[in-house]
């Protein structure tokens, strides 16, 4: 079985976000990059599929130098090979352009299963997996919490509002991982050592057959600017004993805030 995993390097969720001077982006000075949390579930599922069915795992990440660490981390966890999709034109891409780059890298690889996270933390778009499935002309199941693969068929459970849906079909398939799919392992010291010696393949736009076709200027979606959210007005802590506080709160919710 051939399994591809797509992972994104994202700022640590603890990061205090500041804007760059020209508001075109966040200020990345001193920001620590990690694997997007949902992508860890995708990596883990790939490792489990290989353990069960044999085969080969490959991890892809598109972006700048920040990708190297997350790719190495995936190798340390046990993924066989890593490819860094890197090109000056792959900077600040929208979800569709991102999906186009990933599709170019994946399309001729003969993969049976393609795993992604259900959302890239930061961009928070939840778009790349479905776009990739469309570009590869493959079926998709997004936001999965459970996966069984038997022979060349899959059975996945996805989370929807107030229910779980079971979705079945035939491989190959594109899947996006939700929390709960599995419990990701952490890299052991041996894995970390081995990963250090591994080669990370690099592919640029030309190698992917995408020269001159990708870039922020080519996409129909433009990030005009980033802004900080409006400040919440200073709240207040209610005074008095518990009975008074509770009475005041109900009054305020009814009369001032008018939400009950």
């Amino acid at each position: 079985m051939k399994i591809a995993v797509c992972i994104k390097a994202v700022p640590d969720t603890e990061t205090k976000i500041n804007l760059a001077g020209d508001k075109s982006n966040i200020d990345f000075t001193g920001v620590r990059f990690l694997t997007s949390p949902y992508d860890e579930f995708a990596i883990e599922e790939a490792l489990r599929l290989k353990e069960k069915n044999g085969g080969e795992t490959m991890v892809f990440s598109m972006g700048g130098a920040e990708c190297t660490d997350v790719l190495r981390d995936a190798l340390a966890r046990g993924v066989d090979n890593a490819t860094h999709l890197s090109d000056p034109s792959f900077t600040n891409l929208d979800p569709l352009s991102t999906a186009k780059v990933l599709a170019a890298a994946i399309k001729d690889g003969g993969y049976d299963v393609i795993l992604l996270g259900q959302q890239g933390v930061g961009g928070d778009n939840s778009q790349v997996p479905a776009m990739l499935a469309e570009l590869l002309d493959l079926p998709q199941v997004t936001v999965i919490m459970k996966l069984e693969i038997t022979g060349n068929t899959f059975k996945a459970e996805r989370e929807i509002e107030g229910a779980h849906e079971t979705v079945e079909g035939t491989l190959p398939v594109v899947l996006s991982a939700q929390k709960g799919l599995n419990e990701p392992r952490y890299p052991g010291i041996k894995g970390v050592m081995a990963a250090r010696r591994k080669e990370i393949a690099v592919k640029n736009a030309e190698a992917l057959g995408l020269a001159g076709t990708i870039g922020t200027d080519k996409a129909p979606l433009k990030l005009k600017e980033m802004a900080l959210p409006p400040e919440r007005p200073q709240g207040r802590v209610l005074e008095g004993d518990v009975d008074t506080q509770v009475k005041t709160l109900v009054e305020l919710l009814k009369k001032e805030a008018q939400v009950i």
């Binding site: 933390v121 961009g123 778009n125 079971t166 129909p220 980033m226 959210p229 802590v237 305020l252 805030a257």
Partner: protein, 323 residues
């Protein structure tokens, strides 16, 4: 020339989601005199056009056949693609639900088009719309321009108001024949999760509990408050990871993003990843025994106190007012 707005209305089990009516109402407000077309897909769903009609679309397209009884990405993508071909809209709107997040990016890629999900504000800019999409879990907002011939937008539930006409509006209702020739991933079962009657992302009031409630045996204290307020029950990740409650209740960066009118955080410290999921709530109430807890910086009203004392008293006080 592409013009007007097509709105995909999500129905499950014979009901249109409230969030879809919000998207339709917002489309009406943004249409600026252009046509607004609603699309309903399913089996035996014709009667739902009466519900859609209240939000005054110009036209309602109904795709009604057994192939669409359950949602499938490829089936519904075929229906939406056919509707786009028929109407030639400048924008396609849908509510940002699990169905739309699965469907809209796929159809956007098919049209090589711009798509922005989870939109919290829409503005007119010249002859185009400009949208706001919260990024970095609400720590920043991206302002986006959508420049494709047809562009796709999903609206965050509970932000845009539903606007219904009293009566007298009669949208043109059109049957749209669609056959999906390729459905490779099929829904074979749907299991309702137990508990939660009100969907978290659409609830107008949420009562949420964190590690301060001490153990799963104490949820009943919060459930009583939920009952009195007609609220949904939310939770921090700490208590989900501890196994006190199912992940579907989790609010935050790796849970659900919610924007209710009222969010009551009980025994939740207010970690940045929790705030990510609820900081766009209209009113936030924090109940925490630690006056220094970060949640108080974000709360509209705060009570420094013990949840085991404050929450039952609050429930009683609210009962007095509603009774």
């Amino acid at each position: 020339m592409a013009s007007g707005i097509l709105v995909f209305l999500e129905q499950r089990n014979g009901a249109i989601r409230k969030a879809s009516l919000e998207a339709l109402s917002e489309a009406r407000r943004q249409a600026n005199g252009k046509e607004v077309t609603a699309l309903i897909v399913g089996e035996n769903v014709k009667a739902l056009s009466a519900v859609a009609n209240k939000c005054k679309p110009t036209k309602i397209l109904v795709v009604d056949n057994a192939q669409f009884a359950n949602y499938s990405t490829e089936g519904y993508a075929a229906a939406l693609t056919t509707a786009i071909k028929t109407v030639d809209p400048q924008y396609v709107f849908a509510a940002n639900t699990s169905m739309a997040k699965d469907l809209m990016p796929r159809v956007a890629a098919r049209h090589d088009a711009a798509c922005v999900t989870d939109v919290s504000e829409i503005h007119v800019a010249g002859d185009r719309l400009e949208v706001v999409h919260p990024m970095y879990s609400g720590k920043t907002r991206g302002i986006f321009e959508l420049k494709s011939n047809v562009s796709f937008i999903t609206t965050r539930p509970n932000i845009f108001a539903v606007q219904e006409a009293e009566n007298g509006h009669h949208a043109e209702i059109v049957d749209l024949p669609v056959t999906a020739d390729k459905i490779r991933a099929k829904v074979t079962a749907i299991h309702a999760s137990e508990g939660q009657k009100i969907e978290l992302s659409e609830a107008s009031v949420i009562v949420a509990g964190g590690r301060g409630i001490k153990g799963p045996e104490n949820w009943n204290i919060l459930e009583n408050l939920c009952g009195t307020l007609g609220a949904a029950l939310g939770a921090s990740r700490a208590v989900v990871d501890a196994g006190w409650i199912d992940h579907q209740h989790q609010v935050g960066q790796t849970g659900k993003v919610v924007s209710p009118q009222l969010y009551i955080a009980c025994g939740i410290s207010g970690a940045i990843q929790h705030l990510a999921g609820m900081s766009s709530s209209k009113v936030i109430v924090a109940i925490n025994k630690d006056a220094e807890a970060p949640i108080f910086k974000h709360a509209t009203y705060g009570i420094v106190g013990d949840v085991f004392e404050v929450v039952p008293k609050l429930t009683e006080e609210l009962k007095k007012h509603s009774g």
